[in-house]
Point group: C2
Chain length 196, copies 2
Amino acid sequence: MKADDLRRRVLDASLALIGEKGLEGFSMREVARRAGVSHQAPYHHFPDREAILAAIVAEGFARLRDSSRAAFDAEPNAARRLTALGGAYIDFALANPAHFKLMFRSEWVRAEKHDDARACAAGAFDVLAEAARAVSPNDPTLILTAWSLAHGLATLLLEGKLERIASGAPAQRAAARAALSRFQSLVSAEARAKGG
Amino acid sequence: MKADDLRRRVLDASLALIGEKGLEGFSMREVARRAGVSHQAPYHHFPDREAILAAIVAEGFARLRDSSRAAFDAEPNAARRLTALGGAYIDFALANPAHFKLMFRSEWVRAEKHDDARACAAGAFDVLAEAARAVSPNDPTLILTAWSLAHGLATLLLEGKLERIASGAPAQRAAARAALSRFQSLVSAEARAKGG
DNA sequence: GCGGGAACTAGACACTGTCAAGCGGCCTTG
DNA sequence: CAAGGCCGCTTGACAGTGTCTAGTTCCCGC
């Protein structure tokens, strides 16, 4: 078998399995079965079950970092850039639900124990921090407010908890976008009030 | 055994177990062991594992509803009331981490499938909706923005993801409070701008 | 006193994650 | 070319899980 070929196959099988059956449907042995190997073969590439999930977490943070960076570079206006980052955050969560859930559920992966996951997470965070500083340099609270808003929207959306707000996934997605731009206009209104 | 005595003991043992070992440490058989009964006894009070967790979810939403209502009644000013509700939301999450996580993680409990959990959730939601309407009656977006902010803060706090923002749990808690009041001042500034 | 059901126990089954041991082929070294 | 060793993988085992099926014990209404 090609070098690390099985490693990649295991990760792909894991993602497919989680996509089909949800996080609780993930199982070492089922992954091995889907990869067409014995139930112990994956242990030659990952020390244990959590290591597989940690690799997915690292991949997730890397993707989030990259798409955040792309959104950052595409929008020159500082206030709109923060909103664009929020949109990228939500888009990422919806496009990679398995990754996203694992990234923020310590009962599945204790991300801080896995070096590459932590490094990728730091990279993604830095983009957001830079964008928040560009809006108001001396305000450490803005980054937390913006992040929490985007994170809350993404998790509630992903868990289907917004049925009471809007009916159906597309309407919920639109509502989330509206909340983001609402936040942007709140920030802008404050900036104008201070400025004039 | 007294009627429903074991039912309560099972729930308490479950919460204690989750508190000690986390969600992933929860096990039907260990709960039975701690309740001092055979591994099958709990099945006489709950159809399956998820039903135990669903009962915890219902209890959680009931508590959240009650403490939200208390916060609502204690604060007459509409804008400050929304912030107070956000504070109550975060306090609830920190005081009942096992409840809170289960309430919003569909891989453990599909809350919508359990009637009493759904009813209690609706009750809690109504308090928030009423408070948001009091701030601005014709703005369906405000409730989602406020809820998402509080929810994002609570989950990030609970998962220990704010280490990059502030070091140590007390500082992170303070940062979350700051984000909430920052949001309140954003909303107030907008209201003044519109008013004048 | 008796039938029936409710609360509980005991045993089994298929499944899980992981440890230990074994096997075949390639790479290095002699 | 032969020998040794390691790497990737397989097989088998073990303890633990959720849940099904079958008992057992005890109380309550007739």
